[in-house]
C-alpha cells in the first residue's frame, strides 16, 4: 500500500475498456455495472435537459430574448417575462451568502483551531443537525413563527431608515414579514451546515508542520490562521461557498413559503418578491400552454445557471489548488 499500488491502479483502469477474457467473471461484471451506473447519470442529465428545453420552446419562441428578460409576468395578460424571478433568486442568494459565510467560517475555524477536539464533536453534531431539517419544515417555521416575529423588527428598522438616502431605499418601508430578506435568512440557515462542514474538512487538511512552523516563527494564533490556514484552504473554502450558493439558488419549497410571492423588482429588501424555483412550484399545477412552457423555460435557465456556478466553482478551486502547490 505504498508507492507501487497507486501507480499500478491507473493502468488497470485504463485497460478496462477492453474486457479481456482472462479476467475473472466477477471483475468483468463489476466493470459493466460501474460503467452502466456512470453512463446512467449522464443519460438522465441529458434527457432532463432535452425534454425541458423541448417543452419550453414555445415560450422562447413567443417571447424572444427581450421578452424573456422583461419585467412583467402576468399569465392573465399572456405576458411571461422572467426578470423579476432572476432578480429575486440573485438577491435572496446574495443575502444568504452574506449572512452564512462569515458564520460558517467562524464555526469551522472554532472547531479546528480553537476548541479542543472532545468539545468540537457536540458542536459538529448540532451544526449537522441543521442540515437534516427538511426544507418544508424551514418554510413552515419561517412563515408561521419567524416571519411574524421579524415583521415587528422590520417595521422599526424601516421607520428608522425612512428617508435616509440609499439605506432608506434598501431597508425603508414598505415592510413585510414575508420578504426577500426573510427568505435570505432562512436560506442562510439552510446553507450554513454544508459550508461549515466542507470548510472544516478543508481546514483540517492544513499540514500540522506548516502550523507548527508559523508558531515557531513567533506567529500568534490569528497570524497563523491568516498566514497558513486561509491561504492553504482558500480554494476549498471558495468551493464550499459556491456549493452553498448552488443550494441557495435551487431551494424551492422553503423559499416559496416565505418569499411573499410577488413578481416585483424593487430595491426594498423587506418587500415581498419571487424566485425562479418558487414560481415553478407555485404555478405549475394550473399552468397551461405558453405559461407552462414558460415555467419549464425557467427550469432550463435555472439548470444553466447552476451549471455555470458549478463550472466556475470548479475553476476557482483548481486554480487556487495549482497556486497552492506552486507556493
Amino acid at each position: 500500500m505504498t508507492a507501487t499500488a497507486p501507480a499500478d491502479q491507473p493502468t488497470r483502469a485504463g485497460s478496462a475498456g477492453v474486457l479481456s477474457a482472462k479476467r475473472p467473471l466477477g471483475d468483468r461484471t463489476f466493470q459493466i455495472v460501474a460503467l452502466a451506473a456512470g453512463l446512467l447519470v449522464l443519460v438522465i442529465l441529458v434527457l432532463i435537459a432535452a425534454t425541458t428545453t423541448d417543452q419550453s420552446t414555445s415560450w422562447f419562441a413567443k417571447e424572444g430574448i427581450t421578452g424573456i428578460f422583461s419585467k412583467t409576468w402576468n399569465p392573465t395578460a399572456n405576458q411571461f417575462g422572467a426578470l423579476s424571478f432572476l432578480f429575486g433568486t440573485a438577491v435572496t442568494a446574495i443575502i444568504a451568502l452574506i449572512l452564512a459565510v462569515p458564520v460558517s467560517l467562524g464555526i469551522a475555524l472554532l472547531l479546528t483551531e480553537v476548541v479542543p477536539r472532545r468539545w468540537a464533536r457536540p458542536v459538529v453534531y448540532v451544526v449537522d443537525l441543521l442540515a437534516v431539517v427538511p426544507s418544508v419544515v424551514w418554510g413552515l417555521w419561517g412563515i408561521l413563527v419567524f416571519a411574524p416575529w421579524l415583521q415587528g423588527i422590520y417595521s422599526s428598522i424601516g421607520n428608522f431608515f425612512n428617508g435616509v438616502p440609499v439605506l432608506g431605499n434598501l431597508f425603508g418601508p414598505p415592510t413585510d414579514g414575508a420578504s426577500f430578506f426573510t427568505a435570505g435568512i432562512i436560506l442562510a440557515f439552510m446553507i450554513t451546515p454544508i459550508v461549515t462542514s466542507l470548510s472544516r474538512e478543508v481546514i483540517a487538511t492544513v499540514p500540522t508542520m506548516d502550523r507548527e512552523g508559523a508558531y515557531a516563527l513567533g506567529a500568534t494564533r490569528l497570524e497563523m490562521i491568516r498566514g497558513v490556514v486561509l491561504p492553504h484552504s482558500q480554494g476549498g473554502i471558495v468551493g464550499a461557498v459556491l456549493l452553498g450558493l448552488g443550494r441557495a439558488v435551487g431551494e424551492t419549497i422553503a423559499v416559496a413559503l416565505v418569499i411573499g410571492s410577488s413578481a416585483t423588482i424593487t430595491s426594498h429588501l423587506f418587500a415581498p418578491g419571487y424566485t425562479m424555483p418558487a414560481v415553478i412550484a407555485n404555478q405549475f399545477g394550473e399552468a397551461t400552454g405558453v405559461w407552462k412552457a414558460g415555467l419549464m423555460g425557467l427550469g432550463v435557465l435555472l439548470f444553466v445557471f447552476t451549471i455555470i456556478i458549478n463550472v466556475v466553482a470548479r475553476g476557482v478551486v483548481e486554480r487556487s489548488a495549482r497556486r497552492g502547490r506552486g507556493a
Binding site: 412563515i143 408561521l144 410577488s262 407555485n282 405549475f284 394550473e286
Partner: protein
C-alpha cells in the same frame, strides 16, 4: 389552528361514517338504486382539482362499501395538471375547476371530452376586524376597488356608505391572496369580471398580478392564516377552510340586490340561476335569485366519451353515477353545496354518452 384542523378532520370522518350508514340503508332498502345491482371490479384513477379532493376522499371510502371490488384513486394535483394527465392518458378522469382552455384543446386530439359537474361551493370574503360588532357588507364594486388597492383604508367612504351604523376602524386594508395558482383565484376573479366589468382591470385566471402590497399565502389554508394573523386583512377563502379556521366573513350583494352571507344553500341557489351550456359547462358565479350567494364556484370531472374498453366505461358510469347520486348527500356536512336538481339530472342523463 392544529386543534381546529383536527376538528375539521373529525367532521370529515363523521361525514364518511354517515355516508357508510346511508349506503347501508340504500342497499338494504331499495335495490332499485342502480349501481348496486351488479358487482364490478377494476381500478379507476383520477387526478386534478384540490377543491374536489375532500369530496373525492369521502366519496371514495363511501363508494367502497357499495362496490368492494372497485378501487378508485384521486390525487389532488391541481386542475391544469389533472387535465394534462387526462390528455396524456395516465388517468381515467380529471377533476377541473374550469373548462379546458382553448389553448389546451389540441392536446385532446379531437376526442370528445364530457363534463360532469360534481360539486359547488361558496368562496368567502374573510376579514379580520375584531372591533366590528355587525357582519361586514360588501358590494362587487367595492370588492373590485379593494383588490385593486383603490380603496386602502377600512373607514373609506365607499365601505362606510354600504355599512350604515357600523364603526369602521381607521386601519389600512391588507390584501390576502393565493401564492399558488388556483381554481379559487380563477373563479373569484371571474366573479369580479362578471359583476363589475367596467371597474375590474386585472382580468381572470388562476394567477393574477395582484397589487404588490398583497400578502400571499399558499393554498386556502395559507390565505386563511394570513387573514387570521393580520388585523385589517381581507382575503378570498373557500367556505370549508374559512369555517374550519374560524374566520368571519362578509355578506356580499348579489345580482338581485340582496346582501347574502355565504352558505351551502346560497351556493346551490346561485348555480340554479345561471345558464348551463349543452356540454354542461357553466359559471356558478353571479347567478340570479333572491337568496343566491354570488361568489360561488364549481368543479367538474372530465372523462373521454369513448373509453378504451367496456369495463372502463362501466366503472366510470358507476362511480360518476354515485358522485351525482347518493354522493351528493355527503356534501353539506363537508361544507360543499350539492348541485341544483336541474344540473344534476342533465349530468345523470349524460352518463349514457360514455361508451366502451
Amino acid at each position: 389552528m392544529h386543534l381546529r384542523r383536527r376538528k375539521h378532520g373529525a367532521t370529515a370522518i363523521a361525514a364518511v361514517g354517515g355516508a357508510l350508514l346511508l349506503a347501508a340503508c340504500s342497499s338494504s332498502g331499495s335495490p332499485s338504486s342502480s349501481s348496486t345491482s351488479s358487482a364490478l371490479s377494476g381500478t379507476l384513477n383520477g387526478s386534478g382539482s384540490t377543491f374536489q379532493l375532500v369530496y373525492q376522499q369521502a366519496a371514495i371510502s363511501a363508494f367502497k362499501s357499495l362496490q368492494s371490488g372497485m378501487t378508485v384513486n384521486y390525487a389532488g394535483v391541481g386542475s391544469g395538471t389533472g387535465r394534462t394527465n387526462l390528455a396524456a392518458g395516465t388517468v381515467n378522469f380529471a377533476g377541473s375547476d374550469s373548462p379546458i382552455p382553448s389553448t389546451d384543446l389540441p392536446l385532446f386530439k379531437g376526442k370528445t371530452v364530457l363534463y360532469f359537474p360534481v360539486v359547488i361551493g361558496p368562496i368567502t370574503m374573510a376579514y379580520n376586524l375584531p372591533t366590528l360588532t355587525k357582519p361586514l357588507q360588501l358590494t362587487p364594486a367595492v370588492i373590485s376597488d379593494i383588490f385593486q388597492a383603490k380603496v386602502t383604508k377600512w373607514n373609506a367612504p365607499e365601505i362606510a356608505a354600504i355599512n350604515p351604523g357600523v364603526t369602521l376602524p381607521s386601519i389600512p386594508i391588507t390584501l390576502a391572496v393565493r401564492s399558488d395558482s388556483s381554481g379559487t383565484t380563477a373563479n373569484f376573479s371571474l366573479f369580479l369580471v362578471d359583476s363589475s366589468p367596467s371597474t375590474w382591470k386585472l382580468g381572470t385566471g388562476s394567477t393574477i398580478s395582484w397589487p404588490s402590497t398583497a400578502h400571499a399565502g399558499s393554498g386556502n389554508s395559507g390565505v386563511a392564516q394570513v387573514v387570521k394573523s393580520t388585523a385589517g386583512a381581507i382575503g378570498y377563502v373557500d367556505y370549508s377552510t374559512a369555517k374550519a379556521s374560524g374566520l368571519t366573513f362578509a355578506s356580499v350583494k348579489n345580482k338581485d340586490g340582496n346582501y347574502v352571507a355565504p352558505s351551502v344553500a346560497g351556493a346551490s341557489a346561485s348555480a340554479a340561476g345561471v345558464t348551463v351550456n349543452p356540454d354542461l359547462t357553466f359559471h356558478a358565479v353571479w347567478g340570479t335569485g333572491a337568496t343566491a350567494y354570488p361568489i360561488t364556484y364549481q368543479s367538474w370531472d372530465l372523462v373521454y366519451a369513448k373509453q378504451p374498453n367496456a369495463n372502463d366505461a362501466k366503472l366510470l358510469k358507476a362511480y360518476l353515477g354515485y358522485l351525482l347520486g347518493d354522493g351528493q348527500k355527503l356534501l353539506p356536512a363537508l361544507n360543499y353545496a350539492p348541485l341544483p336538481s336541474s344540473i344534476d339530472s342533465s349530468a345523470v342523463a349524460q352518463l349514457s354518452k360514455i361508451t366502451g
